[in-house]
């Protein structure tokens, strides 16, 4: 049983560009959350998707948007990239048939903005 998978592993973009990150949840999970982790800090919540809708959002600007597909996979889009967007982006899945309150994290996508 595959856990949470994310793609790509690493990404380098130029300031002002747009980026799309992808996440496939663990089998049986129906809820996906996205986090941003800057170097040396704990993960910060961006938003959460359930039933293809954004259910809650952290303190992030509208440049950060997302989507959840019928198969529960999700995308994180960031527009007009800033140097400060350089971070590890983590996807976490939970809920569904698992019946567990635990959130499972993927390995993350390392985004570097130059």
């Amino acid at each position: 049983d595959a856990g949470v998978t994310q793609s790509p592993t690493h990404l380098i973009k130029t300031r002002g560009q747009q980026v799309t990150l992808r996440c496939s949840p663990k089998s049986g999970h129906d809820t996906v959350s996205w986090y941003q982790q800057a170097l040396g800090q704990g993960p910060q919540f961006i938003f959460q998707y359930y039933e293809e809708e954004e259910r809650q959002r952290g303190n992030f600007p509208d440049r950060f948007s997302g989507h959840q597909f019928p198969n529960y996979s999700s995308e994180l889009n960031v527009n007009a990239l800033l140097l400060g967007d350089s971070a590890l982006y983590l996807c976490a899945s939970s809920g569904g048939t698992s019946g567990s309150s635990e959130q499972y994290f993927g390995p993350g996508t390392r985004l570097t903005v130059t």
Binding site: G42, P43, L90, C91, G95, S101, Q103, P107
Partner: protein
């Protein structure tokens, strides 16, 4: 969201028991305490969760006093591979569509020495 306070760093030697204490003075009645472990460039991994008294699983124990204003993660007989950042989180357990976000602090960097 309850705020947590943990030591920034701790050192230990292989084979020793390590106890990491977390303070959460404004924990709410419905809040649970959850600990995550994170290795560099990887997503956090769930270790243990509890509400009161003591919880034990195959990797750790969690001690919660009666007033629940603090908790202690106990790692028995640590090895070099236990070197990681450990996060203490407080909140209502997740369920599908509950829109619960995880709020991470800066965590405790545990370094296990040979």
């Amino acid at each position: 969201l309850a705020k947590t306070t943990q030591p920034i760093s701790m050192d230990s030697y292989e084979g020793q028991e390590v106890n990491i204490t977390c303070s959460h003075n404004n924990i709410a009645t419905n809040d649970y305490i959850t600990w995550y472990q994170q290795f560099p460039s990887q997503g956090p991994r769930f270790i243990i969760q509890g509400y009161k008294t003591k919880v034990t699983n195959e990797v750790a124990s969690l001690f919660i006093p009666a007033d629940r204003k603090s908790s202690t993660l106990s790692l028995p007989r640590v090895s070099l591979s236990d070197t990681a950042v450990y996060y203490c989180l407080v909140g209502v357990p997740f369920s599908s569509g509950s829109a619960r976000q995880l709020t991470f602090g800066s965590g405790t960097q545990l370094t296990v020495l040979p």
